[in-house]
Subunit: 97 residues, 2 copies
């Protein structure tokens, strides 16, 4: 498996509804991107003030499957319309099993 | 389950041996911190230049188990001696199942 982990820190004034819309839009990606094998999108539990806002943890058969996801137009639309306008910073990492 | 995800970006001049030592030290924590249920420490695969360096993905029975891990002196020693001196930035998130 090839794993992809992303932490998104959104602007602190991001409305709760906007975070929900972003999370829901990401959670629909496995319906349209067939290389996704496992996919979790989670909101922070709120224990630490400097935490990220949303985590994405995704699994693919291999690096090629990840690249299909990364570059998929529906994914890119979610990034451009719902994530980037609210983003403070993004941290990511990929690893093999 | 209560999940904890951390991405560590280390200084780009960090020697490979120092990253290995840090990863190995973290991977020994489940031997001494009994509230850890699942624990993965992974180095970045190197696909993107702006990626984090090391990911930690940990699972606990509940928030209390996470707090024991967070504050454990052996964990704090790894942070103080091996992580903090090399750290550019840290991003973290916790979530319930």
């Amino acid at each position: 498996m090839f794993h992809h982990i992303v932490l998104l820190e959104l602007q602190p004034d991001t409305p709760d509804d906007a975070v929900d819309e972003l999370v829901d839009s990401l959670r629909r990606l496995p319906d349209v991107i067939e290389t996704i094998r496992t996919y979790r999108v989670e909101r922070d539990a709120g224990l630490a003030a400097d935490n990220a806002t949303v985590a994405v943890v995704a699994g693919f058969d291999d690096e090629d499957g990840f690249v299909v996801y990364r570059d998929h137009p529906v994914h890119q639309a979610v990034i451009a319309e719902l994530i980037r306008p609210r983003l403070v910073r993004r941290s990511a990492l990929q690893h093999h099993d």
